[in-house]
Symmetry: C2
Subunit: 313 residues, 2 copies
């Protein structure tokens, strides 16, 4: 049975720091993305197209840290990472720190479909983008004032910062400085094929060509014939725990349900000091969206086609 | 009980295409590297130091595709990847396509110990190298004629090529064109602490900033409190299978021995079309070195301190 789930990042998302207008905007962004993916599944389309469409919608929505609205590096640039995986064929494509690419997830899909590789990075990945003729935009397209203000503040304070930092300065604690901005989608189509996609602008004030978990197959993104997983949170811990693949491994090797496996994976993430969450689906249309942070922007579709949208824990 | 295993790459390594002199050189290189690591373990040193020392030795030896003697990109450059993981603390550091760094594995260790990150790539990683003051060398240091000839030939034929290509032109088949060059080490020290390290020059004639499995935690390199794993072979398949972490997952979730788990992981690799091998140790000093290719340059130490060095299947 076809289903889809999406996320718009996890972190210190507090109701007390959210205005009614801003919350409505976030809900609109999630609804539009879920709809973009669900439309494809409803008419019998492939899960791969559905997760790509949902992530494109999230990338284009400036409030989320991916595509338009990505955070800034220490040099004031937007450098973006993305990955997509087709579980039914066990194929994947990913890009790391590409610049000026309107939809990094489309470029990740081209890596999967047009090359023998899985991951392309940096200027080389941008050369590939040019060769493929993907849509590019100038820096102004990606600029958002709230992200730029976050960079200025992070530079002042000498920290690397998460994307969903609350606005009140007095609420900004050690925990808030962790990077937790990502968008993602997982889906199962009518044929039971699974797919996952994840996209991010990375960490505010990042430097030295840091790559997080998003474009790493097995860490931030994974799909096979068992489940499809997209993660969001403090990326380094998802890399150390091989978090996305761990859900599949627990299902395959321990015969756990999707929900049990994902809960075990998040428990392990907590144990090793990581913060964030994941969304996952299996081939029977089960969905789970566990996280250990204060909130995670998330949405999914029920068996009856009803949209469920949530932000807080 | 302390033990160590190393590899110098897997691929189409045929006895018929090897001279006696060349085979002796490979054996010398493996012996020196095993010795560099074993010396540290024998005097009670940490596995992390042992795997680093072994990989430094392999990086410095020009016959192996890492450090000095790395293959050339399509632009005639040496771009290197490396990763190291400390299983006892579940920490890791990695670098991707760094240039002119004499020992990429040392830089990977600095990422682990001096930053909050796991993976740094490209010019950013080179900036980090400069900041840390690691040893650099000009292009001439990394140049080897046999690698350059491989590039010229690969360019002529328009293919991306493995490192251990046999010399006879008539032996070069489709299979030979796959990338399989890497070096690596895994060790268990007297305290039962596990560590893994892997380093590579990547694929001959590679372009577009391709990153393979070597610097990907969970794909080419992994260590935790269960096992330490370093892989070599056609990197993309090791990424799709989350191969290095899969050994740990099978041990933890299926209660398999190291040997059973690694055999299962290689069987899965074969099933998905991947070629290559891995070396692995567990906390009791067990060692396994399975591969599905014609050969893998490999060495390990027995319980009696005897060195075992092998090349062919």
């Amino acid at each position: 049975m076809a289903t889809i789930a999406i996320h718009g990042g996890a972190g210190t998302i507090l109701r007390s720091a959210m205005t009614r207008e801003l919350e409505a905007d976030y809900r609109d962004g999630l609804t539009a993305a879920l709809n973009a993916g669900w439309e494809i599944l409803e008419r019998g389309g492939p899960s791969l197209d559905a997760v790509e469409a949902a992530v494109i919608s999230l990338e284009n929505f400036p409030l989320f840290n991916s595509g338009r609205g990505s955070v800034f590096t220490t040099e004031g640039k937007n450098e973006m990472d993305a990955a997509i995986m087709d579980g039914s064929r066990l194929r994947a494509g990913a890009v790391a720190f590409v610049q000026n690419v309107v939809n990094p997830i489309k470029l990740a899909r081209l890596v999967m479909e047009q090359t023998e590789h899985v991951l392309l990075a940096g200027t080389g990945a941008n050369q590939f983008a040019a060769q493929q003729g993907v849509e590019m935009a100038d820096d102004a397209y990606f600029f958002t004032q709230h992200r730029y203000d976050q960079l200025l503040e992070a530079r002042d304070r000498g920290v690397v910062q998460l994307d969903h930092t609350v606005d009140e300065a007095d609420l900004i604690t050690e925990a808030d400085e962790r990077p937790k901005g990502t968008v993602g989608a997982v889906a199962c189509d009518n044929a039971g094929r699974l797919a996952a996609a994840t996209s991010t602008g990375g960490m505010t004030n990042k430097k030295f060509g840091r790559i997080g978990d998003t474009p790493i197959i097995g860490s931030g993104t994974y799909a096979d014939d068992v489940c499809a997983v997209s993660c969001t949170g403090h990326g380094e811990y998802f890399m150390l725990g091989a978090t996305a693949y761990d859900v599949s491994a627990r299902m395959k090797y321990q015969n756990l349900t999707l929900e049990q496996a994902a809960a075990g994976t998040i428990a392990r993430l907590t144990e090793i000091g990581g913060e964030g969450g994941l969304i996952a689906v299996d081939g029977r249309g089960n969905v789970t969206l566990p996280f250990n942070s204060d909130g995670m922007y998330r949405a999914s579709v029920t068996a009856d086609g009803e949209f469920i949208i949530d932000i807080y824990a």
